[in-house]
């Protein structure tokens, strides 16, 4: 009964999630929604909630993301192959710190694996993972005490992570990354269109300043690198200044001398305006970024991986 419902659930998950990716005969990776994913209906709701709270606490205090997955079986794959597939999909742990950890229990196969993120391989080397599997969790599973085994295992993992010097939690805000090609081309197009438009409206200096500000801000948001954005902005400024069409801004006052004065004053205004928009845009994005990072990692509803990397470290065992 429970096996059938779990399989149904897994099938549903596969339809939702990785239908195109995984070959049909492989067990699908369930979507990551909570830290404890039980597809075998082994844990009661309260037990899962207790584990969940403990793991959430760990992330709050140390930043490390630990998740537990119970599946009926991983066949035809070995538990190692399945676990790394799940780990690569879920991306537990912070990006760059790679402090994720995944416990996979294949209940009907009687197999268990602790998959350790790259950043935790020092805190939990293979030998320690093996000991946790074989000496802490395994014996309890043998007695049918799945909850007790997981709880004891999590406690050991928590202790090991707690003794490791990791970066403070929430230190890293996720930065959106884009294909460099795309950034480049989009930047060029924006520069040309905006440069022409702003050149018409504000004159050369004003137009180039505003364009540079806008493109620079966008480049910063897209690449997450301030120096690159600054260089881009300077390039755009020079480019538009040199090549933008002269338009309304200059046409407004026909005599050449006063036109120069006009555009200079225009520049001052527009540069201030440009600066303000850039700054407000940047601060807005910063706050939204940190908000996003905080809510995704700390709130209990809607748990998601932080982009951590796994290299296949850890240990497996059976009971």
């Amino acid at each position: 009964m429970t096996g059938a419902s779990a399989r149904l659930l897994a099938a549903f998950a596969s339809g939702l999630f990785a239908a195109g990716l995984a070959a049909a005969e492989l067990i699908a990776v369930p979507p990551l929604q909570t830290r404890v994913t039980d597809l075998t209906a082994t844990l009661t709701r309260d037990q899962a909630a207790v584990l969940e709270t403990g793991l959430a606490q760990l992330e709050k205090s140390h930043g490390s993301q630990v998740a537990i997955l119970l599946v009926p079986s991983t066949r035809p794959e070995s538990i190692e192959a399945y676990a790394i597939r799940v780990a690569e999909h879920w991306q537990l742990g912070r990006q760059g710190v790679d402090d994720g950890l995944l416990m996979v229990v294949a209940k009907n196969d009687r197999k268990l694996r602790i998959e350790v993120g790259r950043g935790l391989e020092g805190a939990i080397p293979d030998a320690v993972a093996k000991r946790i599997v074989a000496e802490v969790i395994g014996p309890r599973f043998k007695e049918g005490d799945f909850y007790g085994g997981l709880q004891a295992g999590v406690a050991k993992v928590q202790a090991a992570i707690g003794s490791e010097a990791l970066p403070a939690p929430a230190a890293l805000a996720s930065t959106p990354t884009m294909d460099l090609d795309t950034v480049f081309i989009v930047g060029i197009v924006i520069t040309i269109v905006l440069g022409a438009l702003m050149g018409h409206l504000l004159g050369r200096l004003g137009g180039s300043t505003v364009t540079a500000g806008v493109v620079g801000t966008l480049a910063w948001l897209a690449s997450g690198s301030v120096p690159a954005a600054l260089i881009g902005a300077v390039l755009v400024f020079v480019f538009v200044l040199a090549w933008a069409p002269t338009g309304a801004g200059d046409r407004r006052s026909p005599p050449r001398a006063s036109s120069g004065g006009d555009s200079r004053s225009m520049r001052r205004v527009s540069s201030r305006g440009g600066g303000r928009t850039a700054r407000s845009a940047s601060s807005g994005s910063l706050s939204s970024d940190s908000e996003g990072g905080g809510s995704s990692s700390s709130s209990d509803s809607g748990f998601s991986g932080g982009g951590g990397d796994f290299g296949g470290g850890g240990a497996s065992g059976d009971w």
Binding site: A23, I192, G312, G313, G314
Partner: protein, 218 residues
């Protein structure tokens, strides 16, 4: 009006990034990175072997043949220069693979023999080493899978039009990948649990169906 000039500049820019040069660079670097990881993990395994041999010797000194074979295979692996350039030299790549496979075979033999020595299996030091060897075998499998994927991506990148023209111009060749035979061997890592009936069979011919790494859908 300088729009024609601007349009031309935009065209040239998009052509430059459209010829695939950047893509080839990215794919090439990805191959190098994943290959380095493969080398890294192979090295990690080689580094574990002296300790392992030493511990096993303490309990099972008369399993000389198995131990010697592991030591020899390790020496052979060390003899093949493992450089990042290996991926561009199919012949050296094949030699490297052969040496590593031989070590894999010798190592699994050793771990099978160990099953006969309960005292050795109970040794804490040995258990830790065994966990490390297992973990490293798994890391090797993961690194190889990622390398296979990276090479696939790279090879497709340099073969499709118009990237193939760019690749030819700059001398980017398709790279060597692990053959299916290798993957068969990899899908049966030194298994620690074997019952007496299968002990005599060479580990490379274990009946477990090989997992096609390309179908695992990572």
């Amino acid at each position: 009006m300088r729009f024609p000039f601007l349009a031309l500049l935009a065209l040239v820019t998009s052509l430059l990034s459209g010829c695939g040069y950047n893509r080839i660079q990215t794919a090439d670097e990805q191959v190098n990175a994943t290959w380095s990881e493969v080398l890294n993990q192979y090295k990690r395994r080689a580094d574990l072997i002296p300790n392992l041999v030493q511990v096993v010797q303490g309990y099972a000194a008369h399993e000389k043949e198995v131990l010697t074979r592991v030591t020899e295979a390790r020496a052979q692996v060390a003899g093949v220069k493992a450089t990042p350039d290996l991926v561009n030299d199919p012949e050296a790549f094949a030699r490297f693979q052969a040496a590593q496979n031989q070590l894999s075979g010798a190592l699994s033999r050793l771990l099978l023999v160990v099953e006969n020595y309960p005292n050795l299996k109970a040794d804490a030091n040995f258990r830790d080493l065994q966990a490390q060897v297992e973990g490293t075998e798994n890391r090797i499998a993961v690194a190889r899978n990622r390398y296979i994927k990276a090479v696939q991506e790279y090879n497709v990148t340099v073969r499709v039009f118009p990237n193939n023209l760019t690749a030819k111009l700059f001398g980017y060749q398709p790279k060597a990948n692990f053959t299916v035979d290798d993957e068969k061997a990899m899908a049966t890592p030194p298994a620690i649990k074997f019952d007496a009936a299968t002990r005599s069979a060479p580990p490379a011919e274990a009946p477990k169906p090989p997992l096609d790494p390309l179908k695992q859908g990572y």
